[in-house]
């Protein structure tokens, strides 16, 4: 993401007064091994997240019993939330089982990576790096288009996605490009940007309130600012809770939209 020059000018003007508000450069973290930028903290967090998801479901499903233990119950709750609450409700009871593993993995993976944003000492939501969100959205794009082509054939699928039921006549000249752009081109963009922008904005907001509160309290050199600093730090705590809500909601929305796109591609001709 390129920072526009007016942004930098504004930041420098503020920096002259002693406080530098956090900006997009916050997300450029140093590499962990050697000089390769490919493997920095966000990539490490992705790997840790994947391992944690695998570990959670492996540990909770290893000793399955008719009377579930607490751990098995937790795993089953997570599974049935995605299976019944997302996959079956959206995709429909005929085809949904094929997509449950992907949706469950996707939901848990995004959720845990988002929650890293409020875990002390980690405090970085990995999807605030846009490229990771692009990767996930590309996966979803290939999935729903692939499923649609597999079900309807290439031309059948294009017709299915671009011509709404019951529309004919000259209006098609207007409708077809619009539907094509909306259903094929824009979907992956909004899907990835929604996840990325929410994490990005949330992280900046948290850092701003924490750093600003600390600055007003300790470094501003004016006792009158101290109460405002305390207020800002308290607000940072409140915003952390709001962020937890947003992080869970975004994981849910991403999975739900994936299921909806698959359902849209699979739907029968009307």
């Amino acid at each position: 993401m390129t920072a526009a020059s007016p942004l930098n000018a504004g930041r420098q003007a503020l920096a002259a007064e002693g406080f530098t508000p956090p900006g997009p450069e916050l997300f450029n973290l140093p590499p962990i091994f050697g000089g390769s930028l490919l493997f920095a903290k966000p990539a490490l967090l992705l790997v840790v997240g994947a391992v944690l998801v695998f570990g959670f479901f492996y540990a909770t499903s290893r000793k399955m019993a008719m009377v579930p233990s607490k751990a098995q119950y937790a795993g089953e709750q997570a599974y049935s939330f995605v299976r019944n609450g997302i996959a079956r409700d959206v995709i429909g009871s005929r085809d949904f089982m094929k997509f449950v593993p992907l949706l469950l993995a996707m939901f848990s993976f995004i959720l845990i990576n988002n929650l890293f944003g409020v875990v002390p000492f980690i405090q970085f939501p990995s999807f605030s790096r846009a490229s990771f969100a692009y990767g996930l959205a590309a996966l979803v794009w290939i999935l729903y288009n692939g499923v649609g082509i597999w079900k309807h054939g290439l031309f059948g699928y294009l017709k299915h996605q671009t011509i709404p039921a019951g529309v004919n006549g000259p209006i098609l000249i207007l409708i077809v490009p619009l539907e094509f752009a909306s259903n094929i081109l824009v979907r992956p963009v909004t899907l990835s940007l929604r996840l990325f922008a929410n994490m990005f904005a949330g992280h900046i907001l948290l850092v701003l309130f924490t750093l600003g509160g600390e600055y007003l309290l300790l470094e501003a050199g004016n006792v009158a600012y101290a109460p405002v600093g305390v207020l800002a730090l308290l607000l940072a705590v409140a915003i952390s809770f709001l962020e937890i809500l947003v992080q869970v909601l975004q994981a849910y929305v991403f999975t739900l939209l994936t299921a909806m796109y698959v359902q849209g591609a699979l739907a029968e001709e009307h």
């Binding site: 920072a3 504004g10 003007a13 909004t190 929305v253």
Partner: protein
């Protein structure tokens, strides 16, 4: 005064999706209050509408940084 007008523009642009999301959830709450058993169906539709309205705000924030 120094700073970026982009940010003011983004603030203005976020009013639209804000109103839209408010309307969507108002309708959702109304619907559930009138017919509690329709909650599951309505929830999916409400979240879909929320996601679509939010897309406008997301396009806005992307443009605020890019332009």
């Amino acid at each position: 005064m120094e700073g970026s007008l982009n940010m003011v523009g983004y603030g203005l642009a976020a009013i639209g999706p804000g109103v839209g999301i408010g309307l969507i959830f108002a309708a959702y709450i109304n619907g559930v209050a009138r017919q509690p058993e329709a909650r599951n169906t309505l929830q999916t539709i409400a979240i879909l509408g929320f996601a679509l309205a939010e897309a406008l705000a997301i396009i806005g924030i992307a443009l605020a940084f890019v332009l």
